[in-house]
């Protein structure tokens, strides 16, 4: 080992200086002079991470890309509210990584157990160690188990969050299915920021639809830690029209949930106690654990990044994309994650080649389904300004007054979007 290292050092001094000078005479030197196009490790195989890994290989097949993901099956969150309400099956949400691997990405089906930003290496739970030139973190969210008194991992088995799709999604569905007609469903929505800003309101809409059609004597209360939310007027207009049994309680009306009591499924606010037949607690969240391991999360629990390259403001050579990152005006959505991933891949490819990344433009579109034939959207473009991503001109929500045909069209486009994005990422 020592001998090899000494030899390498001797060779470096003697020959590489000479040849580097020769190369420099022809062309400017790239950041990586060792010849390979570079090693990129991506952690997290969701919409952000899998998109970024594939985009990197598409940009430059010589880049060595490893995608670290503990699960062999990805379960998508968008559209999982339809699974909860029995309008879709969970397997329609699930994707494997065969096509990602076929695109030239090396899959490492393990969890990251340590990240060393100085040594530029990732240690996996299976013992393997991966060296990187650039690390891309796309870990998504973790629940803040200390964020709501009474709500711990055991409580989530009684009062599901269903904010990470999979078993939690099915648990909430089973609870709704086994609830008697006339039961009280309580949803608790957290303060900002959290994954999928319109998600709690889409979920409330679809559960209200389920109750209206299957259990019409039941009632739904949505307790909110906010006074305003995404697509608010659109949702509220739809609720007034379609779902008289849905009651939204804002922060200023006492909607903030202060604790939960899983034994009796009781949801507590400063002003009242709600004993629920089904309680869906969407708790406070933070960037997933690998962000802490990599020392890229700040005191907010989320990860500040450069608005041009999404490189961490706390650790050089580590980029953070998707829900875990602080992305200015861009919401934590699958569309945003995918768009950020492609911009990040382009920036990383440029940086590995010793070139300057281009100032990006990004787009987001979030579809929400209020009823099977009733879709609404928020959409916009984003650009960096003074170091943060801001709204470009335009953007906004679906028209407040629109005919049923527009709502039906947006519901169809929502379907199309899901098919397109999952094909790009996993197909």
């Amino acid at each position: 080992m020592t001998q090899t290292r000494r030899m390498a050092r001797r060779l470096t001094r003697r020959d590489v200086m000479k040849s580097a000078a020769a190369a420099a005479a022809l062309l400017p030197m790239p950041a990586l002079a060792q010849g390979a196009a570079g090693r990129v490790v991506v952690i997290g195989g969701g919409f952000a991470g899998a998109s970024c890994a594939r985009a990197l290989k598409a940009l430059d097949a010589r880049i060595n890309v490893t995608l670290v993901e503990a699960s062999r099956t990805f379960t998508a969150c968008p559209f999982s509210n339809l699974v909860i309400t029995g309008m879709r099956e969970l397997d329609a949400q699930q994707f494997g990584y065969d096509k990602v691997a076929a695109a030239g990405v090396t899959m490492a089906f393990s969890a990251a157990s340590a990240v060393d930003p100085q040594a530029k290496s990732v240690t996996l739970a299976d013992g393997n160690r991966l060296a990187y030139d650039r690390l891309v973190l796309a870990p998504g969210i973790d629940i803040r188990w200390d964020g709501l008194p009474g709500y711990d991992e055991a409580a989530a088995n009684v009062m599901p969050h269903a904010w990470k799709a999979g078993e939690q999604t099915l648990l909430l569905r089973r609870q709704l299915e086994s609830m008697e007609d006339g039961g009280l469903v309580v949803i608790s929505a957290p303060a900002n920021p959290f994954r999928c800003p319109p998600g709690p309101y889409e979920r409330a809409s679809l559960i209200a639809y389920y109750l209206k059609t299957k259990k019409p004597k039941s009632k739904l209360i949505l307790l909110d830690a906010k006074d305003a939310f995404s697509k608010q007027r659109l949702f509220q207009n739809a609720w007034k029209e379609l779902y008289p049994n849905l009651e939204w309680v804002s922060l200023s009306s006492g909607g903030k949930v202060t604790s939960v009591e899983p034994a009796s499924k009781t949801v507590v606010t400063d002003f009242s106690r709600h004993q629920a037949a089904v309680a869906n607690i969407i708790p406070p969240q933070k960037a997933a654990r690998v962000a802490d391991l990599s020392q890229v999360a700040d005191r907010s629990g989320w990860c500040p990044v450069d608005a041009m390259t999404f490189e961490s403001k706390q650790q050089p050579n580590i980029h953070v994309i998707g829900d875990a990152a602080i992305m200015g005006a861009m919401p934590k959505s699958a569309f945003s994650a995918n768009a950020q991933a492609k911009v990040c891949a382009a920036a990383v490819a440029k940086l590995l080649a010793g070139e300057k990344p281009v100032e990006p433009r990004l787009i987001n579109t979030c579809y929400s389904v209020v009823a099977p034939d009733y879709g609404i959207t928020v959409a916009g473009a984003y650009r960096p300004k003074d170091g943060v991503l801001v709204d470009a001109e335009g953007g906004g929500v679906s028209p407040i007054d629109a005919p049923a045909s527009t709502r039906a069209a947006e519901a169809r486009y929502a379907d199309g979007w899901f098919n397109t994005i999952t094909t790009e990422v996993f197909g």
Binding site: A20, Q34, Y413, E424
Partner: protein, 97 residues
């Protein structure tokens, strides 16, 4: 060994000067979130690859002014300048259909 390394380094430099998707104009990479790159995806949203650049630019201009009916494109088109739109249109026109 060293000679190989230097050779590879120079090859890398040369290759990076080639026009690749890395040179996609700002904003273009977001479009494939809704507009499929591959054929056969079940969606009412059209593919952009290989489309006439002028056709894309005209559509974007009409989305922006409200002349052409839209669901989300009226809101998105306003986020791009004429020059940005033209660059994106030219990029998609040059992609394989």
């Amino acid at each position: 060994m060293i000679r190989l390394h230097v050779f590879a380094a120079i090859a890398a430099l040369t290759a990076s000067g080639m026009a690749t998707a890395a040179d996609a104009p700002p904003g273009a990479s977001s479009c494939s979130g809704c507009h499929p790159v591959t054929a056969g995806v079940a969606t009412p949203v059209p593919r952009l690859n290989g489309r006439d650049a002028a056709q894309i630019t005209t559509a974007m201009t009409e989305f922006r002014t409200g002349k052409r009916p839209a669901t989300v494109m009226d809101r998105i088109a306003k986020g791009f300048t004429d020059d940005e739109t033209k660059a994106i249109a030219a990029f998609f026109a040059a992609q394989k259909e």
